[in-house]
Subunit: 340 residues, 2 copies
C-alpha cells in the first residue's frame, strides 16, 4: 500500500538512487535494471510523492493563477485556457483570488516563499511599485495578464485593447456616420480601461470629432454602474447618439437604463460593448461588440510560462509581449448601414 522508492529498492535489491534514476529515465542506468525497476514499480502501482519531489527540487509542478476575484464568465474562460496548457505539461493550476480583506501584496508575499508554486500567472488591474518590488523576490517565472502599463520586466499577454476600441469607434464614425459619441469607461486606474480610453480619444481626434462630442464618463465595469451612468448619459442635454461601453456588462446596464427611460436601441440611442460575453448575442437587440478571446489569452500566458519553465525560451533576456487580436462583432444595437 505504501509504495515508495525505498520499497521498490528493497524488492529490486538496488539502492534508492538507482530507482530514482531509473524512474526518471536517467541514461546512466542499464536497460535491464530499468526494466526490472519499472516492472516492480508497476506492480506496486507506484506514484511519486510530488510533495517530496517538489520540496527537494525547490520547484513545484503547481502554477499559481492570481485573480482579483473569482467572478464571471471571463475568469472561467481564462482558467480553462490556462489549465489546458498546464495540464498538458503535467502542471497543476492553483487558483488564488485576492479576497475582500487580504490584499494582493499580502497574498503574493506568502505565496512567493511558500514553496508551493513553480510559476505564477497574475492578472493585475494595475501594476504598482509595491507589487513590482514583491515580485522581484520571486524565484519563479512570472507571466502577466492584462494591460500591464509600466511593466518592462515580465512577459505579458494582453488583449489588443487599443485596436479593439479604435476599430469599433472608427466603424461607428465612418460606417454609421455617428458624430456624437460617449465612452463609458472602466476605472482609470485599471490598465486595460486606460488603454481603451486612449484608443477612443485618439480615434475621435483623428476623425475630427469635437471634444464635446467625444466625452468620457467613468464607470467601473459593473452592470449597475452601466445602469446608473447610462441613465445619466441619456439625460444629457447634448445626448450622444451612441454609447461606446468599455465592456459588455456596462453595455448591458445601458440596455436596462434605456428601458427605464423608454428609449429604444439603436433608434434613440445606440450601444456597443467589449468582450462579447455569452449573453450579448441573445440580447434584444443583439449587442454590437468587440470579441475578446479570453481563453486564448489564458492559453498564451500559460504557453509563455511553460516555455520559461522548460528553459527553451528562445529569447531568455528579452521580454515577450503578446497581444491577442480582437474582432469586431457587428450586431443590431447600432444603426444598420445601407449595404451597397
Amino acid at each position: 500500500m505504501v509504495s515508495t522508492i525505498k520499497e521498490i529498492a528493497r524488492r529490486a535489491n538496488v539502492s534508492i538512487a538507482t530507482v530514482s534514476r531509473a524512474l526518471n529515465n536517467n541514461p546512466k542506468v542499464t536497460e535491464q535494471t530499468r526494466e526490472l525497476i519499472q516492472k516492480i514499480a508497476d506492480e506496486l502501482s507506484y506514484k511519486p510523492n510530488l510533495a517530496a519531489r517538489n520540496f527537494v527540487k525547490k520547484t513545484s509542478n503547481v502554477i499559481g493563477l492570481i485573480l482579483p476575484d473569482i467572478a464571471d464568465e471571463f475568469f472561467s474562460e481564462l482558467i480553462k485556457g490556462i489549465d489546458e496548457v498546464c495540464y498538458d505539461n503535467d502542471y497543476y493550476t492553483m487558483v488564488i483570488s485576492t479576497h475582500r480583506y487580504r490584499t494582493l501584496e499580502e497574498t503574493l508575499n506568502s505565496l512567493i516563499r511558500s514553496g508551493l508554486l513553480g510559476g505564477l500567472i497574475i492578472l493585475i488591474p494595475n501594476f504598482t511599485e509595491p507589487i513590482k518590488k514583491l515580485l522581484s523576490f520571486a524565484k519563479m517565472p512570472v507571466v502577466l495578464i492584462g494591460g500591464g502599463l509600466g511593466n518592462n520586466e515580465y512577459d505579458i499577454v494582453s488583449l489588443d485593447n487599443y485596436q479593439g476600441i479604435y476599430d469599433i469607434t472608427k466603424y461607428l464614425i465612418r460606417k454609421c456616420n455617428y458624430t456624437n459619441l460617449v465612452h463609458l469607461s472602466g476605472p482609470i486606474d485599471n490598465d486595460d480601461a486606460a488603454i481603451r480610453i486612449q484608443a477612443f480619444r485618439d480615434c475621435c481626434n483623428e476623425f475630427n470629432i469635437p471634444s464635446q462630442n467625444a466625452q468620457i464618463i467613468q464607470g467601473d465595469f459593473t452592470r449597475s454602474s452601466g445602469v446608473l451612468l447610462g441613465m445619466e448619459i441619456m439625460n444629457l442635454k447634448n445626448k450622444p447618439e451612441v454609447i461606446v461601453a468599455a465592456n459588455d456588462m456596462m453595455a448591458l446596464g445601458c440596455y436596462d437604463a434605456a428601458k427605464k427611460k423608454g428609449l429604444s436601441i439603436p433608434d434613440d440611442i445606440a450601444v456597443t460593448g467589449f468582450d462579447d460575453i455569452f449573453v450579448s448575442q441573445y440580447l434584444t437587440p443583439s449587442l454590437t461588440t468587440v470579441r475578446a478571446q479570453i481563453e486564448k489569452e489564458g492559453h498564451q500566458a500559460a504557453e509563455l510560462l511553460m516555455s520559461k519553465l522548460n528553459g527553451n525560451s528562445h529569447s531568455p533576456n528579452t521580454i515577450n509581449r503578446i497581444k491577442i487580436p480582437t474582432e469586431l462583432v457587428i450586431r443590431n444595437s447600432i444603426k444598420q448601414i445601407n449595404k451597397g
Copy 2:
C-alpha cells in the same frame, strides 16, 4: 533573504525546535522567548515553507477541486463558492479538470498519492465502482458534489434536483393547465439528470398525465442538443405544449429551434429550464426556470470539508447529505396564469 527557521534559531540562540514551537503558538514556550522569536521572525519577514511543512505533516493546505471539464458559468460560480470558504480557512484551491484523454480514474490515482492535497471536492457526473474503489485509498477527507446516486460513504452536497423539477412540472400542470408535456433530459448516466427524470415522471403520474403526454427525450445538456431535439419535438405529430428542459442551455437551444421552425414561445410552444444562468433573464421571452444556487453549493461543500479537516465534525461517523433548495423563477416563456 533566505529566512528559515534555522536562521531564526541561530539569531535567537535557541534550537530550531523552540522556534518551530514558538511560531506555532505551542503553549510550552515562555512568553519571553516567543516574543523574541516573533520579533526576529518579523525582522526577517519570515514566511514558512509550506511545501516543507505539508511534506513532513503528510497533509496539505491545498484542497483539490476535480471537475469534469472547466467550462461555463456554472463552474466559475462553484469555484468561487469553494475558494471563498477555503481561503478563509487558510487553504488554497487547486482546480483540476479531467481532460480529453486523461480519465477521472487516472487523475485521481496520481493525485491521491501525490501528497499535494489535503482534501478533495469532486464533482462526479456518475459515481462508478472504479472511482469508489480508488477513492477508498485516499487518506484525505472527500466531499462529493452532484447527484451522487449510489454514494453512501462520502459527505455530499447536491442541488435539490427532485424538488426543482417536481415544482416546475407541478406548476405547469396545476397553474398553467398544460396537459401535454415533454422532458428534454440530460444523459441518463448523469446522476443529476436521472433524478430530474424521476421527478418529472413522478409528478406527471401524480397528476394523471397519460404517459404519451409525458414523454422523455434524452439530450446531453448542451445547447446544440437542445436545438436538435427541440426541432424533433416540434415535429412530433402529438406536439407537446411545453418543453421541460433539464437545464437552461438546452432550453436556449429550444429557443433557436423555435425560431427556425417559426414557432413563437410561449404561444406555439412553451419552454422551461433549470439553473437560471445569467443569460436566461435576458432572453426574449425571458426564460421560466429553476434557480440553482451553485455558489452556495460550493460554499457548503467547502464548509463540510473544512469541518472534517479541522476535526470538529459533530458527527464523524454519519455521512452528511446537504441538499441546496431550488427556487421557481416564473418568467415569460410559459402561458401567463390569470391572476385572481
